[in-house]
């Protein structure tokens, strides 16, 4: 039997993705549609009857009159006109049973596709809890298509749907007469098939929104949530990070003892393990942050946060929709920039992409942590404020303020007559489903680790090579690294960066730091430990204690300022290129960030030297 191509379509927030996860489990592949910047999710499964299914999770759409690239992809794939996509054999339309007035209109619109169609009436359990009685046989008759109740969040919630897929394929529904008033038809169907026993105002959304969207309590709740989020990221992740750090240190030592002294041991211990270790350490932090964002997203809170923050974002010329991608950029600009796809206005989207690298991503934290720990005294101010914490907060605040200014300037430069729009659904509240959370986290962890595995480790190894070769001639004076390529490049860069207070070791570390920010810590360790001729592991551990003897405080502050604007990582530039399909935008982003970083470091260094 050949594989059956099925596409899941439906409104945003209809529970389509939960159903997709339920059907396919972890047998999924996430990529992009050919020639578009829209995420393509595909999965595979076999029905109980042994039929192989290839399932496509199409982007959510409100209408076939596409107003965003996502909606255009959904329309074209369903119509079978998207290049490189097989026309689906069956469309499974997903509608939230608690939101039929909105979702059934799109279902009726899908009849015009001329493809076999079934309706998955999802979240049927929630509809019953809300006191809704749906007459399924009648609904089926009036819609002119097979209607199957599903519960995306329950293990056996797709049983009836699977049974349907095993049976004979459903017919192509007859198209509706030209010019049918879909809204009137939906109203008619609902009054025929649905009885609502409890009033609307009793719904949990009504009661919760009274608090969550309240002009005073709403922002209070938001601030508390964000506070706990950052608390979790920066405090609760610490024990895990320490454990991984210690583990990697031990691994390096073990392998170091097993292997004979020589180039290969140096490569493994100083290059691969030291490089990967300093990065894998940040996995707990990134996972906790992503878990928070996923929970906020799945629960339906994020659009409400966008509502509360819309006014604030409009000062920067953006809409509340930009909040979600920018918040994600605090973990990493790559997923943040990828999530700008939800912004429909192309200009808003471009500005959000350009300022996303200014959000302090977690890859900058290792640099911040190292420098603050080494140079800022651990002192309490006014009992509860810690000076180190205050500096860290200041770095975040400066970055956010800069982003607002940059967004403002960009908007002013590209002033057009196009109206800034918000128009966004505030979906029903949901308890996040553990399976959907786990799959989302797994996907993100995989991306992060792949980045570690490829870009960052290879860069660390490359730097190790640059720092180790050529070896100094026999009987040479001074540290070995001075003779290497890295030393020479560092010395060449020095005239450019000396006005910022950087020495040649920093310049050497900046080379891989330009490519992937978090590598800079490992690079500094490599440069200093190889240079000082002591044991590498010891030096890496003691980098924090060692740095103050090499640098003055103005240099450290200058480097911190540099990293606020941090010349972006290759991955960020690559994703900007992918999302905008324009090298010009990449050049603008790289250029303005470099200019800001240089100016900020220059000012910081020279002001700090006055004290």
């Amino acid at each position: 039997m050949t594989t059956l191509n099925i596409a899941l379509v439906g409104n945003p927030n209809c529970g389509k993705t939960a159903l997709f996860n339920l059907l396919t489990g972890s047998r999924q592949k996430v990529a992009n549609y050919a020639g578009a910047t829209v995420e393509r999710k595909e999965g595979w499964f076999t029905t109980p009857g042994g039929r192989r299914i290839r399932l496509l999770d199409l982007p959510g759409a409100y209408s076939l009159n596409a107003t965003s690239p996502d909606e255009a992809v959904t329309r074209d794939v369903c119509a079978g006109t998207y290049r490189g996509e097989a026309a689906p054999d069956l469309l499974v339309c997903v509608a939230d049973a608690t939101n039929l007035r909105l979702h059934l209109r799109f279902v009726l619109e899908m009849r015009a596709m001329g493809r076999p169609l079934v309706l998955a009436l999802n979240m049927i359990d929630a509809a019953r809890r809300n006191g809704m009685e749906i007459d399924l046989p009648r609904l089926q008759a009036e819609l002119g298509m097979v209607v199957i109740p599903t519960i995306g969040v329950r293990r056996d919630g797709a049983r009836e749907l699977l049974a349907e897929l095993d049976g004979t394929p459903p017919p192509v529904p007859a198209p509706l007469p030209e010019g049918t008033d879909l809204h009137a038809l939906v109203r008619q169907i609902l009054s025929d098939c649905v009885t609502q026993s409890s009033p609307l105002s009793d719904r949990i959304e009504e009661r919760l929104d009274r608090w969550v969207l309240h002009p005073v309590w709403g922002p209070v709740i938001l601030i508390v949530l964000l506070f706990f989020m950052f608390q979790a990221v920066f405090a609760w992740a610490q024990p895990l990070m320490d454990a991984i750090d210690a583990g990697m240190g031990m691994l390096g030592q073990k392998i170091g003892m097993l292997m004979p002294d020589g180039v290969l041991r140096s490569l493994i211990v100083d290059g691969v393990i030291a490089g990967a270790g300093s990065v894998v350490t940040f996995l707990p932090q990134i996972l906790i942050l992503f878990a928070w964002i996923l929970v906020l997203e799945e629960s339906g809170y994020l659009p409400r946060a966008a509502f509360l923050l819309d006014r604030l974002m409009s000062f920067a010329g953006l809409s509340g929709r930009s909040f979600i991608p920018l918040l994600s950029s605090f973990a990493c600009a790559v997923p943040g920039i990828m999530s700008t796809r939800t912004i429909q206005n192309p200009r808003d989207r471009l500005v959000t992409i350009l300022i996303a690298p200014l959000m302090t991503c977690s890859a900058r934290l290792p640099v911040y942590t190292l420098l603050i720990g080494a140079f800022i005294p651990h002192r309490n101010i006014a009992h509860f404020l810690n000076l180190q914490g205050l500096v860290l907060f200041g770095l975040y605040a400066v970055a956010i303020a800069s982003a607002l200014v940059v967004a403002r300037v960009l908007r002013w430069r590209n002033a057009d007559r196009q109206e800034a729009t918000l128009l966004m659904e505030l979906p029903a509240y949901r308890v996040p489903n553990p399976r959907d959370l786990a799959l989302g986290l797994w996907e993100r962890a995989r991306i992060f680790l792949l980045r570690v595995g490829t870009t960052i480790v290879s860069l660390t190894v490359m730097l190790w090579g640059l720092s180790s070769f050529p070896a100094p001639p026999a009987g040479a004076q001074g540290p070995a690294i001075d003779w290497s390529f890295a030393g020479r490049i560092g010395h060449l860069m020095l005239p450019v960066f000396a006005p910022l207070g950087f020495n040649w070791q920093i310049c050497v570390a900046l080379i891989p730091g330009l490519a992937a920010r978090e590598v800079a810590v490992g690079a500094l360790a490599t440069v200093y430990s190889l240079g000082s001729g002591t044991d590498t592991d010891q030096a890496a551990l003691q980098l924090g204690q060692m740095l103050p003897t090499h640098w003055g405080v103005p240099t450290a502050l200058s480097l911190l300022a540099w990293y606020v604007y941090a010349p972006q990582c290759v991955a960020t530039l690559a994703v900007i290129r992918r999302e905008t399909a324009s090298w010009r935008v990449v050049a603008i982003a790289a250029g303005y960030l470099f200019a800001l970083a240089y100016a900020a470091s220059f000012l910081t260094y020279h002001i700090a030297r006055m004290f």
Binding site: L102, R105, E206, P219, F307, L308, D310
Partner: protein
């Protein structure tokens, strides 16, 4: 009366949606989302810092929209009966 003038917590019925231009994608999208004549609507919340945007409930669905968008929706208020 327009949706942007409707006080919070007051019920109203949608009369129609105005186009602000020859082809107004915002107006079209509003109609697709259910802002159609005869539909009951209510402002459930207004945002901090100046009451823009609005959160409205229409049917089973809640939407956030800016005042400039809500300006397109012409409504007539409902008299409280009984």
């Amino acid at each position: 009366m327009r949706l942007s003038d409707l006080p919070r917590g007051t019920d109203a019925i949608i009369d129609h949606v105005d186009d602000h231009a020859e082809t107004d994608p915002v107006a079209r999208r509003l109609r697709e989302l259910g802002f159609v004549p005869g539909e009951p609507v209510r402002v459930v919340a207004t945002a901090p810092l100046g009451g823009d945007p609005l959160a409205v409930r229409i049917g089973f669905t809640r939407f956030a929209l800016r005042r400039t968008e809500a300006d397109r929706v012409v409504i007539h208020p409902v008299k409280e009966l009984a």
